[in-house]
């Protein structure tokens, strides 16, 4: 009954009654008894448990502990949402939560590692570097910092903040020092999701307040357009000298020469991207990238035109591929590689975006496995982020077609009813092997693709 009283007479909070459960055991950060450090170092993995017989994947609702927290056996560490309910998952060992591999808001398959537990504090940096190597990591901070700060990247991962009440009590950075930023609640949330520094945003609200649209504008201003991550800065080329090819450059050269033996032709198409841009804006906050959207649209068009997904391996027959694997050209330091989104037609856009993020990180770290870059059946190449409006790409051997995507630019167009209007348009140009793909096949494919992009409601499945 006293509890019911508290609802209505917060005049007399009975602090003792309320501190009892202390937030439902979520405060694993409270220091426990001192532990002697063991000699043998051990980094344990915390796995996504199977919470029911039908569960295949679980979504992490919230982490009850932060990286660097000490945990005792039996402490609830993470809250997982299964197909039936939300469950607290406990740790089976004492230790320190060294690295969170799957942040809150994301899912992981049952049995996969979602966090690393270090036995002693010294092993935390070791665990962190291990986490950086593990492919499924998407929030592995550098060993120096003790907090989970989402990685600044143009691919915007959006983990919702864990509900530890003490930590979240002052979400604004304002109180430190003299500098203060007044931002509305939604602006603060967006800034966190989109990794925008509130101090760098000028506020347009009453009294100079930072509001949501200011944060969105700040997030959008660095190159929003395109897909493939910006190439790493190239080192200065030593002018006046001869530098031999690296292995990768040698491979590229070999492939390009081989492609000369293939009879290719090109078909171009202009696609209006207003609807796609709008969709992108809407679901950007969920981690979806333009690359993923284009890959998904392409895959869906390929479903209807399987011959464009075929190739000619021996000069005498059609090799119809059973899966649609979209390879996307990525410029990396010193070269070019094509990570592959397998079965792009079968995955939903969010999973596709996640997979793309993982692939890019692996590519950057030069950790891609062969089947992750040579199993493509159709290739996408995007130079739009440089402002290129159109180009044509060279067909990689072993595939049937490659699509070169230019930037989306506002263009003055004449509409059907005789008026003049403004639309965002992008030019795509497909190079295809004429031994297996004929003009009408390619044209039909491009028509389907443009229909999908101009009416993208099915892309979000």
């Amino acid at each position: 009954m006293a509890g019911l009283l508290h609802l209505h007479s917060t005049l007399l909070p009975s602090a003792s009654l309320l501190r009892q459960r202390g937030g439902g055991g979520a405060q694993a950060a409270a220091p426990r008894r001192r532990r002697a450090c063991r000699v043998e170092a051990k980094i344990r993995e915390i796995f996504m448990p199977a919470l029911s017989s039908t569960m295949t994947e679980g979504k992490i609702v919230a982490w009850n502990a932060a990286e660097g927290d000490r945990l005792s056996k039996g402490d609830p560490v993470v809250v997982v949402e299964s197909d039936k309910a939300d469950m607290d998952v406990e740790t089976f060992h004492d230790g320190f939560l060294a690295a969170v591999l799957v942040p809150a808001g994301e899912s992981a398959p049952v049995g996969s590692a979602i966090a690393l537990l270090a036995e002693s504090e010294e092993e935390i940096p070791l665990a962190r570097s291990q986490a950086a190597n593990l492919s499924s990591s998407s929030a592995a901070p550098p060993p120096a910092t003790q907090e989970t700060v989402p990685e600044e990247s143009s691919l915007a991962p959006p983990p919702p903040p864990p509900p530890a009440p003490v930590a979240a009590s002052a979400p604004s950075p304002a109180t430190q020092g003299g500098a203060r930023v007044v931002a509305s609640p939604y602006a603060k949330k967006l800034a966190k999701e989109l990794s925008v520094d509130l101090f760098s945003v000028t506020g347009s609200g009453p009294g100079g307040r930072v509001v949501a649209k200011d944060v969105e504008a700040a997030a959008a201003s660095p190159t929003k357009a395109a897909a493939a991550p910006v190439a790493a800065a190239r080192p200065d080329v030593p002018l006046g000298s001869t530098v031999p090819f690296t292995t990768m450059q040698g491979a590229v050269s070999k492939n390009m020469v081989e492609s000369l033996a293939v009879p290719t032709f090109r078909v171009g198409y202009t696609i209006t991207t207003d609807a796609l841009d709008q969709l992108y804006k809407k679901i950007k906050s969920k981690g979806v990238t333009m690359t993923a959207l284009l890959a998904k649209a392409t895959a869906m068009a390929l479903v209807q035109h399987p011959v464009v997904n075929s190739s000619c391996r021996d000069g005498q027959s059609f090799t119809y591929n059973s899966s649609i694997n979209i390879a996307v050209a990525v410029a990396i330091d010193g070269g070019l590689i094509t990570p592959v989104l397998q079965d792009a037609d079968k995955l939903d856009i969010y999973t596709l975006s996640r997979k793309w993020k993982e692939l890019v990180e692996k590519a950057r770290a030069k950790q891609l496995q062969p089947q992750e870059y040579n199993s493509g059946t159709f290739t996408l190449s995007n130079l739009g982020m440089f402002g290129v409006d159109r180009f044509d790409a060279i067909l990689p051997p072993g595939t049937g077609a490659i699509m070169a995507v230019g930037s989306s630019q506002p263009t003055v167009v004449g509409t059907k009813d005789g008026r003049i209007g403004m639309k965002n348009q992008m030019q795509v140009n497909v190079t295809a092997d004429h031994r297996v793909i004929y003009g009408s096949d390619l044209a039909a494919f491009l028509q389907t693709l443009s229909k999908i992009i101009e009416d993208p409601k099915d892309l979000t499945f």
């Binding site: 019911l4 003490v166 009590s169 979400p171």
Partner: protein, 556 residues
């Protein structure tokens, strides 16, 4: 046995029968409470009190103004508590008058439950229409949703007027005298009423019930201007929808308003003195409520801070709220917002009631009462013929608790002893999704279990497993039950989810009637309905011990 002796003595029209199990369960009467009460208190005093009550009832029953009194019952305050008591009194044949100095219906009808539910209905629909993802998943398209603030405010106001006139008419048609003015108790069984400061009319009544209710509590340092810094009284008029509003207090009132304001397009910041939001709720429910009602919405919060000073907006400057750490009292930060709603609880409205004439001293404004709602004086004795119900006594500040207490008092003055079991009274918070509860929270149950030496068990079920909830695509929610595995006694039930406020009654009924889990396990629930959520809870509970025969009568 003192009770039966008293019955013989009085011989009144309403005979308090020998203690049958059925009687013990009426209105959630706690048989243990009754038994212990009569045994531990001085039997003679208790018997004397009973005899007096019963004698009074016997002679005065039904006769108008008998034994020289103008009325059998005068109620000061025509809010929900007073109204409930008045209706029941008439049913029992008592000549009743009710004194109201402001508007009939009191807080609930005019400044509380009624207009707030109207606004919440609007906000619920608004939220649904704006949730494109939700609509799309059902296959619906909504072109554009908007609202007209004045029409929304009118809906709430009109509803309040309608209910107010319904209440007034219901009392008038039953013959209750509605007297206008502020009432004061001037002496034993004597009440004066009239304009404030001019209590000109005096009436006598055999019994008096004080039901003056409460007003929003505003801590010191906070300056109210009714436009930019205001309480729930002003907010319910919905004169404006601010872009950014700070809500001081994260109890159910603050929470409901955050639901309304965020649905209408505002952003909200909570300022909470304790370290956790929603401190009055079961902690597990509060955690999930935060995930569903706060995190995904445009709401942020500051906990562990007091708003030490709030200055209304003027000359183009925003409302300034200075926050200090609740423990160290040092300044933490100053918020600049468009509006501030003060929802820090309610203070009883008991000044000027003339209580000092009866040697009654209020505690922080609340009128002390015993478990029968009899007013206790400064020496700890029950003041005869004087009762206090509802928010004014602070026992359980809910509308339906006030009317239940009123009914309990009327039962007593009609000759039938009655002690209301407050643990069987449900409470609800009408956010989207709703939250409801009855009985103890898990920490309270554990504390009681530790003190009294029994075990408790907890079962939980998710709305995700419920067909109807999934059909509506509203699978967010949880229901939990705390019970004794040895006896099957239900200690508390908490629900967060679609229609939680309606679903709780199965559980509150069970607690009121003393129904045990094993008795209710095999009861059939229609499929597919949300009530199956509770069915799951009952079926999941395991009662292991030898059940004590709870329904046996108290030994004489």
């Amino acid at each position: 046995m003192s009770l039966s002796t008293a019955a013989v003595v009085a011989g009144g029209a309403v005979r308090p029968d020998a203690i049958r199990p059925a009687d013990l369960r009426f209105c959630g009467l706690r048989r243990e409470a009754l038994g212990i009460r009569l045994l531990s208190a001085s039997p003679q005093a208790a018997a004397a009190a009973k005899r007096k009550v019963l004698a009074a009832a016997a002679t005065g029953n039904g006769a108008a103004g008998s034994a020289g009194f103008d009325y059998d019952l005068v109620i000061i305050g025509a809010g929900v508590g007073g109204h409930g008591a008045a209706l029941h009194a008439v049913e029992k044949g008592l000549k009743t008058a009710i004194i109201e100095g402001d508007v009939v219906g009191g807080t609930c009808v005019n400044r509380g439950c009624v207009p707030s539910k109207a606004l919440l209905a609007v906000s619920g629909r608004m939220r649904e229409l704006q949730d494109e993802h939700h609509m799309k998943s059902l296959g619906l398209q909504v072109s554009s949703s908007g609202y007209d603030r004045q029409s929304v405010a009118d809906h709430a106001n009109n509803l309040a007027s309608k209910i107010r006139s319904n209440l007034t008419n219901s009392m008038k048609s039953l013959g209750v005298d509605i007297l206008t003015g502020f009432g004061t108790v001037v002496g034993k069984q004597k009440v004066r009423y009239g304009k404030v400061g001019f209590p000109d009319n005096e009436i006598t009544a055999r019994n008096i019930i004080i039901a003056t209710g409460s007003v929003p509590f505003v801590p010191k340092g906070i300056e109210i201007d009714g436009k930019t810094v205001f309480t729930s009284d002003h907010a319910l008029k919905l004169e404006s929808v601010p872009d950014w509003i700070a809500i001081v207090g994260s109890g159910y009132i603050g929470l409901e308003f955050s639901d309304v304001y965020t649905a209408l397009g505002s952003e909200v910041t909570f300022v909470e003195a304790l370290d956790q939001l929603m401190p009055g709720f079961d902690p597990e429910i509060a955690k999930l409520a935060q995930r569903i009602l706060i995190n995904p919405r445009k709401i942020d919060y500051h906990t562990g801070v007091f708003a030490s000073k709030i200055t209304p907006a003027k000359n183009g400057k925003p409302v300034l709220i200075e926050l200090i750490d609740a423990k160290t009292k040092e300044h933490k930060e100053t918020l600049e917002v468009d509006a501030a709603l003060i929802a820090t609880g309610r203070a009883p409205f008991t000044k000027g009631l003339g209580l000092e004439n009866m040697n009654v001293v209020t505690q922080r404004g609340f009128i002390p009462v015993d478990e029968r709602m009899q007013v206790m004086d400064a020496d700890g004795n029950a003041v005869p013929n004087l009762y206090c119900i509802g928010d004014a006594n602070g026992k359980l500040m809910l509308a339906h608790a006030a009317s239940a207490q009123g009914i309990s008092v009327v039962e007593q003055i009609s000759g039938k002893d009655n002690i209301l079991n407050h643990l069987s009274i449900p409470a609800a918070c009408f956010t989207h999704p709703e939250i409801s509860m009855v009985g103890l929270t898990e920490p309270q149950a554990r504390e009681q279990a530790d003190q009294e030496g029994f075990e408790i068990s907890v079962v939980k079920t998710s709305f995700k497993a419920n067909t109807k909830a999934l059909a509506e695509n509203e699978g967010d929610g949880i229901a939990k039950m705390i019970y004794r595995p040895d006896t099957g006694e239900i200690l508390g039930v908490h629900i967060l989810g679609l229609h939680a406020a309606d679903l709780i009654h199965e559980a509150s009924n069970a607690i009121a009637l003393g129904t045990r889990v094993q008795d209710i396990k095999l009861v059939v629930h229609a499929h597919p309905t949300l009530s199956e959520v509770l069915d799951e809870l009952f079926k999941a509970a395991k009662v292991t011990g030898i059940p004590q025969a709870v329904s046996e009568p108290v030994a004489a």
